[in-house]
């Protein structure tokens, strides 16, 4: 089978290669991933070329393969196709009034369900554990300082109980105060919670109290007059941020950076980092998906989706039964994500992941190596999960792998010139 690379080289040839063989094979029930990949590529290039006929035909074929109840490839294809249809439908301006799925009411989880989901695979806990480890190391020397965590993430503070617990267990005891600040601005992405952030904070505070860790929780609201989308709201939140003297500031970005635009708004990835730098944090932890899902070309984005998102679909297949409703919901969440990506480039919420190394360096940060202890802890987390999950080190980052394929990376940074002598225990 020819690789996708060949097909991508020339658009004109792509459609001509959509021959009966593919269609027939697909209809026969041949679920070869390479087959599906080619079909998706055909569909994408047809969309790019405004070839309505071809789009229709490929979609019809894809629809025969796609199945939300099938094997992982079929499921992924189903969601991809759905996003493609949504996109194609939007090209007809009169349909936009009907409202796309992006505007729908997404399901809301209970926090217990969310926490359960986080434990299903190490996808998130990988970043949590590594980041918390880096944070602990960074604040270790500063016994007298208030630790102030600026929490930028979409997982509703689920990272913090373990940090609170670790701080409580420190030989030197907890810090005089642990503050967690959360901006009320959040990208419109799953998971959605059926509790307010304030309630989450209350429960965290309760928990901290039970562990005797002095704790304070703040939600920074954005000014509604500023309006705008997520970047504008976040900018407004940041301007209202309250920092105090002599705090050890920790910035935690978990699945966050990718939602900030590259350019064209008041708050881009670079300006965000600039602001963060000005705060002079003692550590900045960044965890995100290890995938480039943001290319100006639709076909590239679709291929990237197919070649990356098979990982969560495959993982879910391994850990949840075929009929699981929960699984359908998680896959639906991924489907929403696919829809965002397939949508027009530069639409309301961007999804551009990258390792940010160059960007961090330009913003004045240098990578901080994860201590062996932390690495061991992360390994232990992986061990506790079923096999298939692995880890590797690349540069100063840790990368979570599923069957050898990169899924998530986690990294830790400090402003260049920042002295670590006080932080790291000798």
């Amino acid at each position: 089978m020819k690789g996708a690379g060949e097909l991508m080289s020339s658009d004109a040839n792509a459609s001509s290669l959509f021959d009966g063989q593919l269609a027939g094979a697909a209809l026969r029930g041949c679920l070869d991933g390479g087959c599906i990949e080619k079909l998706l590529l055909h569909c994408a290039t047809a969309l790019e070329a405004n070839d309505a006929t071809l789009v229709q035909q490929v979609m019809w074929v894809l629809n025969n393969i796609a199945s939300p109840n099938g094997d992982p490839n079929q499921r992924l294809t189903a969601w991809l196709l759905r996003a493609l249809v949504a996109r194609a439908a939007r090209l007809c301006p009169t349909l936009t009034a009907a409202g796309g799925p992006a505007a729908s009411c997404a399901r809301r989880m209970s926090v217990t369900d969310l926490v359960g989901y986080l434990d299903l695979t190490p996808w998130h806990r990988f970043g949590f554990t590594a980041s918390n480890g880096a944070i602990l190391k960074a604040v270790q020397g500063k016994k007298q300082s208030v630790v102030h965590v600026l929490d930028f993430g979409v997982y509703h503070c689920t990272q913090w109980p373990t940090l609170i617990d670790a701080l409580a267990k420190r030989p030197e005891g907890p810090p005089p105060l642990l503050r967690v600040t959360v901006p009320s601005a959040r990208p419109p992405v799953t998971p959605y919670l059926n509790l307010s952030t304030e309630e989450i904070g209350l429960r965290l505070a309760n928990f901290a109290k039970s562990r005797s860790v002095p704790f304070e929780f703040n939600v920074v609201e954005y000014s509604h007059s500023d309006g705008g989308g997520f970047p504008e709201q976040l900018a407004s939140c940041l301007s209202a941020l309250e920092l105090r003297e002599d705090e050890a500031v920790v910035v935690n970005c978990q699945s966050w950076m990718r939602y900030l635009p590259e350019e064209g708004s008041c708050l881009t990835k670079d300006t965000f980092l600039e602001l963060i730098h000005r705060v002079n944090p003692c550590v900045v932890t960044v965890s995100d998906e290890d995938a480039d899902l943001d290319s100006p070309r639709l076909s590239s984005r679709i291929m990237a989706c197919f070649n990356y998102l098979w990982i969560p679909f495959d993982a879910l297949e391994t850990f949840l039964p075929k009929e699981s409703e929960q699984r359908m919901e998680y896959e639906g969440d991924i489907g929403e994500k696919i829809e965002r990506i397939v949508s027009f480039h530069g639409a309301e919420v961007v999804e551009s992941g990258e390792r940010f190394s160059g960007r961090m360096a330009r913003a004045g940060f240098a990578g901080v190596v994860f201590e062996e202890e932390v690495v061991a802890e992360v390994k232990a987390v992986l061990e506790e999960h079923a096999s298939g999950w692995g880890m590797k080190r690349e540069e100063d980052m840790l990368v979570l792998t599923w069957k050898g394929h990169n899924s998530v990376f986690t990294s830790s940074w400090a402003p260049t010139g920042f002295s670590h002598r006080n932080q790291i225990s000798t």
Binding site: G20, N73, C105, T129, T162, E199, L202, H405
Partner: protein, 529 residues
């Protein structure tokens, strides 16, 4: 975690390479050894990255039969062809051959990277782009996924196909169990802690009880954690001390004061933003004491904070969910606060938009069933697969026919684009309910044009000719862009109508140029693709 040290080497990097921190996927060059100091300037080097999920395109893809796969050893002696599971064992063995010095060194030549596909054709890893980079990994995968599960855990019912998996599990099973007060069991401490911190059931109970929250018992059931005990003892003391503080101001609080919002208004006392987006808001310590420190005070020193009404209110709110403080505050800013204010009502009720007890939330995937905003559901009724004997040409011909059909074409139905009546939200559940595509007659072409044959020039020519002469295809999605595209009215029904009333101006472009090539069009609509 020390007890797992021996098995950890094997199980951690579970692509099966046996190397703890290096994966063999071959996507990027091997990691440099960890740098020595914390301040390593990162060179801004643009690394060439493969598409995520695809192994090294230079890699050699190897497909082995199941038997060969299971029999193949990763490390093979080049002299006598004996196979070994581990490199060390191979090296030990090679010494036994008494090789001259030169040959004793391992060959330094670069061996082409190999990736392996799963022999099982229906497996996702049968596809070369999903190949696994490690022989041991693919062996284990094949065993686990497609093999018989011969190993069964004694304590629980779990079965495993690979012995090392079974061993690893047996070590953990039942050894440590953490139990949340709500009854859920955890084998991992971090899961337990995270769950417990947010536990819905606990929060509910505290709200009902209206007393101090249960002391945190973070010891695993079978372990003794002195620190946790001490911590829970301290917590108990702190709570007893605060109990009086909390209940006292409870009645005094009637003015709703949204607690988290106190901080922001104070923060906003710094109006000038010209200095930049992030001024350090330096507030006097006095001011601080009125806001957030109150919470602090509540959890540790209680006496000093009990003086001012303001502070103690914060204290009580922050300190304990169970506090009846919020009980009488008529909330202005969220139903949530109101919910908390009624201890006799479970927290679960008002909070639920789609709250469900552990188990399947009833909510639909993307929108509530009443919402008809998703009139089109492409997957609700896929056409049944046509007869396998239908040739490729026929298939595509059919596709074209369906695309050109009038209103209510089966193609549209196949996509579930039936109009507003279609409200299937749960795909797969509704497949049987929708109308099905009537099976079209399947022309039987000579067997030579059957499926599975390599690409044939005639086939292509035939198809092109077919499309070249067909009437203007009506793009069902209204993809005909530009001034002629679109429908006069909004909504999906209008679209259906437009298709029915053969609006031939739509989509003529691609059709008349043969349909196969992407049309080069100066699109005035400049649809941003």
């Amino acid at each position: 975690m020390m007890e797992y040290e021996n098995s950890s080497v094997m199980t951690v990097s579970n692509s099966g390479s046996g190397e703890a921190s290096v994966s063999s996927s071959g996507q990027l060059p091997p990691a440099a050894p960890p740098s020595l100091g914390p301040l390593q300037p990162i060179p801004v080097v643009k690394k060439k990255r493969n598409l995520p999920g695809t192994p090294d395109p230079e890699a050699e893809v190897i497909a082995l039969s199941p038997k060969t796969l299971m029999a193949t050893n990763r490390f093979v002696c080049e002299i006598c062809n004996k196979g070994f599971q581990r490199d060390q064992n191979l090296q030990l063995h090679r010494r036994g051959h008494n090789l001259p010095w030169k040959l004793r060194q391992r060959t330094g030549k670069e061996v082409r990277k190999r990736v392996y596909v799963c022999p099982e054709p229906t497996c996702v890893h049968h596809d070369p782009s999903r190949a696994l980079g490690d022989l041991t990994g693919i062996k284990k995968h094949f065993c686990r996924k497609h093999g018989e599960k011969k190993w069964k855990c004694d304590k629980c019912s779990k079965k495993y196909a690979v012995q090392s998996d079974w061993k690893a599990h047996s070590k953990v099973c039942g050894t440590r169990e953490y139990r949340c007060d709500c009854g859920t069991l955890f084998s991992r401490r971090d899961s337990f802690i995270t769950h417990r911190a947010f536990c819905d059931a606990l929060a509910e109970e505290s709200a009902k009880a209206g007393t101090t929250p249960p002391t945190a018992n973070l010891k695993p059931a079978s372990e003794d954690d002195g620190k946790a005990e001490a911590a829970s003892e301290k917590a108990t003391e702190a709570e007893e001390a605060t109990a009086t503080v909390e209940t006292a101001p409870a009645v005094a609080v009637d003015a709703p004061l949204p607690l988290p919002k106190v901080a922001p208004p104070l923060e906003r006392q710094e109006p000038e933003k010209s200095a930049g987006l992030l001024p350090y808001v330096r507030q006097s310590p006095v001011a601080l004491a009125n806001t957030s420190s109150a919470a602090v005070a509540a959890s540790t020193t209680t006496s000093s904070s009990s003086n001012s009404n303001n502070i103690s209110m914060f204290a009580s709110i922050f300190a304990s969910v169970s506090a009846t403080t919020a009980a009488h505050s008529s909330t202005t800013f969220s139903d949530l606060m109101g919910a908390m204010g009624h201890p006799d009502r479970s927290l679960a009720e008002p909070l639920s938009l789609c709250l469900a007890p552990n188990g399947g939330p009833p909510s639909s995937l993307f929108s509530p069933p009443q919402n008809q905003s998703h009139d089109w559901r492409p997957f609700s009724a896929p056409p049944p697969p046509p007869s396998p004997h239908m040739s490729a040409t026929a298939l595509l011909q059919k596709a074209a026919q369906m695309g050109a059909a009038a209103t209510g074409s089966s193609f549209l139905k196949g996509f579930g684009l039936d109009g507003p009546g279609d409200s299937s939200l749960r795909w797969g559940h509704h497949r049987q309910q929708q109308q099905h595509l009537e099976p079209e007659p399947s022309p039987m072409l000579p067997s030579g044009l059957g499926l599975g044959l390599p690409y044939e020039q005639d086939l292509m020519m035939g198809s092109s000719a077919l499309f070249g002469t067909k009437p203007a295809t009506l793009d069902f999605l209204g993809l005909g862009m530009g001034p002629v595209g679109g429908t006069p009215n909004g909504g999906l029904s209008a679209l259906m109508t437009s298709i029915g009333s053969s609006s031939l101006d739509i989509g003529t472009g691609p059709a008349t140029t043969g349909g196969w090539e992407g049309t080069e069009r100066k699109s005035t609509s400049s649809a941003n693709l």
